[in-house]
Symmetry: C2
Subunit: 623 residues, 2 copies
Amino acid sequence: MKYNYLNNLPLDEAKSKYYAYLKEVGLSGKTETVPVNDACARVIKNAAYAHICSPHYNASAMDGVAVKAELTFTASERTPVTLTPADYTVVDTGDPLPDNADSVIMVEDLIEGENGNYEIISSVVPWQNVRQVGEDICMGDMIAPSGTVLTPSLCGALLAGGITEIEVIRKPLVGIIPTGDEIVPPTSNPQKGDIIEFNSTVFKGMLGEMNAKAKVYPITPDKKELIKAAIEKALSECDIVLVSAGSSAGRDDYTSDIIASLGTVLVHGIAIKPGKPAVLGEALGKPVIGLPGYPVSAIVIMDEIVHDIVAMYYGKPQLPRETVKATLAKKIVSSLKYSEYVRVSLGRINNKLSASPLARGAGVITSFTKADGVLIVPQNCEGIEAGEEVEIRLNKPLFEIENTLIVTGSHDPLIDEAADFLARKGAPFRVCSTHVGSMGAIYAVRDGLAHLGGIHLLDTETGVYNKSYVEKYLPEGSAVTVKGVGRVQGLMVQKGNPLNIKEFGDIKNCRYVNRQRGAGTRILCDYLLEKNKLTPTEIDGYHNEEFTHTAVAALIAAGNADAGLGIYSAAKMYDLDFIPICNETYEFLIDKSYLDNPMVKAFLDVIYSDEFRKRLSEMGGYV
Amino acid sequence: MKYNYLNNLPLDEAKSKYYAYLKEVGLSGKTETVPVNDACARVIKNAAYAHICSPHYNASAMDGVAVKAELTFTASERTPVTLTPADYTVVDTGDPLPDNADSVIMVEDLIEGENGNYEIISSVVPWQNVRQVGEDICMGDMIAPSGTVLTPSLCGALLAGGITEIEVIRKPLVGIIPTGDEIVPPTSNPQKGDIIEFNSTVFKGMLGEMNAKAKVYPITPDKKELIKAAIEKALSECDIVLVSAGSSAGRDDYTSDIIASLGTVLVHGIAIKPGKPAVLGEALGKPVIGLPGYPVSAIVIMDEIVHDIVAMYYGKPQLPRETVKATLAKKIVSSLKYSEYVRVSLGRINNKLSASPLARGAGVITSFTKADGVLIVPQNCEGIEAGEEVEIRLNKPLFEIENTLIVTGSHDPLIDEAADFLARKGAPFRVCSTHVGSMGAIYAVRDGLAHLGGIHLLDTETGVYNKSYVEKYLPEGSAVTVKGVGRVQGLMVQKGNPLNIKEFGDIKNCRYVNRQRGAGTRILCDYLLEKNKLTPTEIDGYHNEEFTHTAVAALIAAGNADAGLGIYSAAKMYDLDFIPICNETYEFLIDKSYLDNPMVKAFLDVIYSDEFRKRLSEMGGYV
């Protein structure tokens, strides 16, 4: 089997090598001229200078009468001045000042007399209530320097300055070529082995955010000539070309060789994780980039490299990204071989901003959907301890991140349902839920990492849920548990129960799928094992750990396992048989200081509402 | 003359009255179904649940061979295991795992043997190097709650979860009707009295930022029937209707009456400044809003009211806006009649964030182009002292604001030119320049409000520029002046010099236009008056003050004045005659702590570059 090792160039070196080369071959944006009233958000090529003044004539700033100010100088309550029709001209706001006038008296200050006369009891000074020529903009003044992104008010200022058309950088057109024999267009019914092509949609969206246009080409199979032809076509039509997948060094990875045959490969392999197998190349003076097939790897390359190239195209500097300091919530171990991009969720609890690492697999797109930011672990660093201060590169405005209710703990779909109820009610905050198990929830509430923690922890000695754990792990009186739901736990087994599983002890005869350590359901499993006088080593699959009820159900439905503990709604969703084991008390643990927090209150209001109870009974398995 | 007084409803009351009414008449967004690969940035109507798992089959996570893990359990360096072709299946990343396999051995770990055999020296455990069904997304899991704005990665997650189409809120179509007899479409050659219609462009841009579409109708003259017909047409085609201008209570202000005749006027007149003469109405169940004609007033109503209505249409909450605490740099006096929206520029100097109020006129669109945020002075407040801490609602990300070189002081176009040079060189910061006069620059540098201050202050006793002022006003050794440019000051007079002005003393026979107090040019003027034994009262127009050389030139060119002091380049720009008076030393004052600031250094590098000197000589008047 063919296997070529990739380079492992540190990111900064890869960037400077590539960008210097692109600069040398003259990468720069083409321009076009557009009407200013259609130019909002565009990037102007050159500095814009006003053609005319605004106002371009002396304009009345009020409704009233225009006069020569000197006529009014003696006016007072004791010595009113009478203006005859010959002395004034009626003007509305915006009207030009007549040549013989230099000021305006407001309509509110006019006392109507006879024969069209007006009496006034206060004077005006020259240019009072007049917008003199150039009050806002003077002809020749620079309205915006080169490279400015036009805001709505800047477009207004350009028009006010008599500029009706403007030269802007053309949005770069970026060609995206999805490749791979196993890749299929989006479908809700893929066949085994089909990989749904969603990367191009992610890239297209990201390019839109970078102010670039995307052209997605048809999926090209893993045939060298076909991919080469597709790249040549894209090169003839686009400003930048992205080849999705095939960028590594496996037997079907052609991207690097093809780019080399059409132009130059500057870098193949970057010391970042995810994102290592990227190809940075050039052909016909245009950037051609091979993106890794794994979505998360590709997103890192889009964010690190393609983002910069689009900025170069616009002639924009590589601005430092917005970062924020946060406390790392969980230890990270990293490799000295790479700098690692760890997606994190952020939460502000009691004025402390915490960063919780999300799933690190390169295939886990949901780690990006949930990511508030990225922690970049440098190449020379083996890991970072929990509690250390780290720098997080933000994916969203910090403001939005801080306006978030953080619910953590034991997985139950009811948390997502409650978040949805809140969203539909227009709650002015978002809900971020993470599944760290019931013990994780206890630690998170104790350490100020979550507002609410969902827990269902069986005290195997007393049979009472939660109470003894809270007493043991939390300082006395620091937190309270509030009522959540009752729910049925049981064994989920294949439809029709082919192994004829009747009770928990029967799992010794099948392939089990377990929950992670610290999960309430795992503690229940261990309790039931002991009760059935079984040991973990007797259970096939005891070490196959999943984080959610649905993940356990999915593996049973897929045939990877025969049985697993979980809640009824998960079994129902996957059309599995369900053998009830016990009723649990699922409660919410809350630090006392948040009991009056409006987000916490709104969340609990939903949980206790009749409407929500109705939804739970539709889902099934709640008591 | 007709004049009806408006209401003066506090903003919060106006909002709750209007929004409650709109809720009652059932304002809500229409929906449409779009392909997910075209849904980025759209707002989903309902919660989205995964249709399928991702991966939807057990997939190899590596290039290698798929095996039954138990075959490998005994493998070690001492006891290698040999795999025959019957034991393994070659797989690439993403390939489905064969039914008889439960793990993958990476290609890097295979030692090629004879007859297609492989030797291995380490074991794999079940599911190692396999992406099990549902690793990323489990069927039935909620991918996003109702009302979520789809990010690129969320679109990817939806497709990965088998969702190919999704119901999103249709972008609201907002009709904009510009009205007014004096209004003309954008032109670079307007006639006297023509007002260039740029408000609709500003609104269109702002609506784009709110995720709404705009339809701009033709300009409608101030005829009641015509405006009514235009509103009826817009009501039949759009979801929200905005009528630009005519919203006050003057003789040509019909908006309120027309809306009342078509539906309901809830509010006419809000206690905010600018923005007071707004009409909040409803017809055919749709919001119809009369916007003030002054651009800044209209922008405030767009930002306060229309913004919220678009959010209501999307079913989104009225989120609190992002604010920041800053120190007010200059005293503000406000009225008890209104809450006032003061545009401010922000600057971070030595870790102190300062807010400097910008021009407050309702017609000054450039006060919005320069505004980093808005300070809302409450209705019950008469003013705020300099140095007080204030809350600023941000118009741009704070991060962007902080990455700014603040240059203040005496007006000279060379500052804008230098900013443009920096932009074209791709400097990774922006330049914000304000014109506060040379004395303003001294105070700004002293008070930590600017990085650099441009000054040209003549010591009338010694004839030396700047030195004595710096010594007098700044603590010894705290700041230095660095070389700027030499420039020619002189009298700008009408083309052909019709009043035959020969020297400064001749201004006593003409209408003069002066610079503001604290400007170096004003100090020069006062010095020259004294030298010519003239007093301010002898000078017609001495109190007519402008802030820039171009503003003075514009007034002379417009015939508002006959002469004013200024620099050669301004006279040249306005085709005025120029009578040189003296050569000035224009220098930059810098607090010592910023001498090594990279932004300051980059700015000075430009000023001293040959390329920039060349540009100055094109502009003329620099020596």
